[in-house]
């Protein structure tokens, strides 16, 4: 099985490095600058599960090779258009695309471009960030989840990818109900991103405010109702565990979107918060907290554009 991974960030880089270490045939499709760094020094991984320098195969646009059996899309939502253009030459009739993006908005775009049959569902629970020299700083979480969006038995490419993940020590893998998992993750992310962005603090800071825990629960409720309107309400156990984590006093948990904002970086405002709000509106659901957060993120983007 030949795998192409677009992006060598905290998600794609970590996953691909571990696959390569396990002997899987992995190629990274990268931008010139990133390609040069990785070609020169390998992928540098720092993780509680073991540090490593991994000499992976790297290609840039125009030298994709392929077609590949699996193309893993590990870009940010705001880079989706350029990512689609980049992978297109590597996608053949039998290629399976596994997007690891947050939210749901990317599926319509990918289906329209490549046909729904080639697009599986996927998500990452790999926590980490890139260090100043492009090193992958993994904080321990290293799970992925993927599967058929129609719930049918998995195609051979996904079964093979699942086997490769097991060999590589990556948690999760094939999920028979990937749509539910996607919604569960989006509900969690939508809630924590909304609150950490609008409040500019960690979960612990938010819970320290008089109405902080109440606002967090309201936001979770807004997201859960949107998921329910789409037929994917989180089950009671998932919800209880989300609520407990999101209202824990002193918690240092924080949405990565806040880190992006405090670095003056681009944010996945539309895919994580804006699209959740749009779906609330479409379903006639009130979502005041999502609305504040989306306005906050848009004001951030306006200011970022103005001050650059």
């Amino acid at each position: 099985m030949k795998i192409l991974i677009l992006g060598a960030g905290a998600v794609g880089g970590y996953w691909g490095a571990r696959l390569h270490q396990a002997g899987v045939d992995v190629t990274f499709l990268l931008r010139e600058k990133r390609a040069e760094t990785v070609r020169r020094g390998g992928l540098v991984v720092k993780s509680p599960k073991g540090d490593a320098v991994v000499p992976v195969k790297v290609v840039t646009r125009g030298e994709e090779g392929g077609p590949y059996d699996v193309v893993i899309l590990a870009c940010k939502a705001y880079d989706l258009d350029s990512a689609i253009a980049a992978i297109a030459p590597a996608v053949g009739p039998d290629t399976t695309i596994v997007p690891m993006l947050n939210g749901h908005a990317h599926f319509a775009t990918l289906d329209a471009r490549f046909g729904a049959a080639r697009v599986a569902g996927g998500l990452a629970r790999i926590s980490g960030m890139l260090g100043p020299n492009g090193e992958i700083l993994n904080s321990g979480g290293s799970g992925v989840s993927f599967g058929e969006r129609d719930g049918k038995p998995a195609r051979p490419a996904l079964v093979a990818l699942d086997a490769a993940c097991r060999k590589a020590g990556i948690d999760g893998g094939l999920n028979p109900d990937i749509n539910q998992d996607l919604w569960d993750k989006w509900v969690m992310l939508g809630t924590i991103a909304t609150m950490c962005a609008a409040m500019r603090g960690t979960v612990g800071d938010i819970v320290a405010a008089e109405d902080g825990a109440a606002l967090m629960r309201e936001t979770l409720e807004e997201c859960c109702r949107v998921a329910a309107a789409n037929g994917h309400a989180p089950n009671a156990k998932v919800r209880a565990s989300l609520e407990a984590g999101l209202t824990q006093p002193g918690s240092k948990a924080v949405a990565s979107i806040l880190g992006d904002m405090e670095k003056g970086g681009a944010v996945e405002a539309r895919s994580i918060v804006g699209d959740m709000l749009a779906r609330a509106r479409k379903a006639g659901l009130p979502a005041p907290n999502l609305r504040f957060a989306y306005a906050h993120l848009q004001a951030y983007e306006a200011r970022r554009a103005r001050e650059r």
Binding site: Q298, Y300, R306
Partner: protein, 315 residues
């Protein structure tokens, strides 16, 4: 008439400096470090209305030279308790205390401490800051203060004299016939702007770039108006039209000073400007979801500041 000014910070330094410049008998009540700086460098004002450096009278304790006819209170709301303690010895039976603070909550606190009759209403509209070197930087094209009897009766002699002294300084405003309404007018504007600029972390122009930025801004103004109306101080259609048009100017670079405070990791008047507006909304049964969100934002900021987390990466 003898005037004591608590502190020689931004507002107190500017107003006191201009009063002194135009011949009023002004004394500044300051801390030892500030006194030393003032004796060394003078009171330095850099202003759109002209720069000046002056030697001014200072005292370290309210007992010195008191009691005074007028005490101008220009502290931040979060310093009110220590300010009250500092001015207490300077307040005699015939002293009038003129607070130039934002909001309304300090009025009851001051009246309880000094007696209702000694406390009048007052506010400042001056865009001014204190530089780290102690220079008073007045950057706004406007500089106005406003004060008057809270019961709307004719002004006592001390206020009439203060009005005459202010008129000589070039500072606009002065004695106001309805200072309580004026205080509400300013509070509505300030609370709306501070709530939104802090919650959204941007200028009013940045906020208006968001799809629903204008709607959220106008809702917030309306929350504040309802609270004022419940206190019998609705600014009326003309007053509200001014506030709304000011806060919905596309491309405006205007931001509440509270946002600058947030971005400098400084203390903020969150309780006084926003928290008290919410408390009054609750008491009057008025829904104030936007103010609630903004107040939570400010409390989160204060929690993060208290643990030393401002300026450090959140991740």
């Amino acid at each position: 008439m003898r005037i004591l000014i608590l502190g020689a910070g931004a507002i107190g330094g500017y107003v006191g400096g201009r009063l002194h410049q135009s011949g009023a008998d002004v004394t500044f009540l300051v801390r030892p470090a500030r006194r030393e700086a003032l004796q060394r460098d003078g009171l330095v004002i850099k202003s759109t209305k002209g720069d000046i450096t002056q030697t001014v009278k200072t005292v370290l304790a309210g007992t010195d030279g008191g009691p005074y006819d007028v005490v101008l209170l220009t502290c931040k709301a979060y310093d009110l308790d220590s300010a009250i303690e500092a001015i207490a010895p300077a307040v005699g039976p015939n002293t009038t205390v003129v607070p130039l603070l934002n909001g309304m909550r300090h009025i009851d606190i001051l009246a309880a401490k000094f007696g209702d009759a000694k406390i009048v209403g007052g506010l400042a509209r001056v865009g001014v800051a204190l530089s780290p070197e102690g220079v008073i930087l007045h950057t706004s094209p406007f500089a106005a203060i406003s004060f008057g009897e809270r019961d709307g009766k004719p002004a006592r002699k001390a206020l009439a004299e203060l009005d005459a002294a202010v008129k000589k300084t070039g500072i606009d405003g002065g004695l106001h016939q309805n200072i309580i309404q004026d205080s509400w007018d300013k509070w509505i504007m300030l609370c709306s702007l501070a709530s939104m600029c802090c919650l959204m972390r941007g200028t009013s122009g940045d906020i208006l770039e968001a799809d629903e930025g204008q709607a959220i801004m106008l809702e917030t103004v309306e929350e504040c108006r309802k609270v004022a109306a419940a206190a019998g101080c609705d600014p009326g259609e003309k007053g509200m039209a001014n506030v709304r048009s000011f806060l919905t100017q596309k491309g405006s670079r205007f931001a509440a000073s509270m946002l600058h405070d947030l971005e400098k990791a400084s203390m903020v008047e969150a309780d006084h400007v926003v928290g008290d507006m919410i408390a009054r909304a609750r008491k009057a049964g008025i829904a104030a979801p936007n103010l609630r969100m903004a107040y939570a934002h400010l409390q989160v900021y204060l929690a993060r500041r208290a643990r030393g987390g401002i300026g450090k990466p959140a991740l």
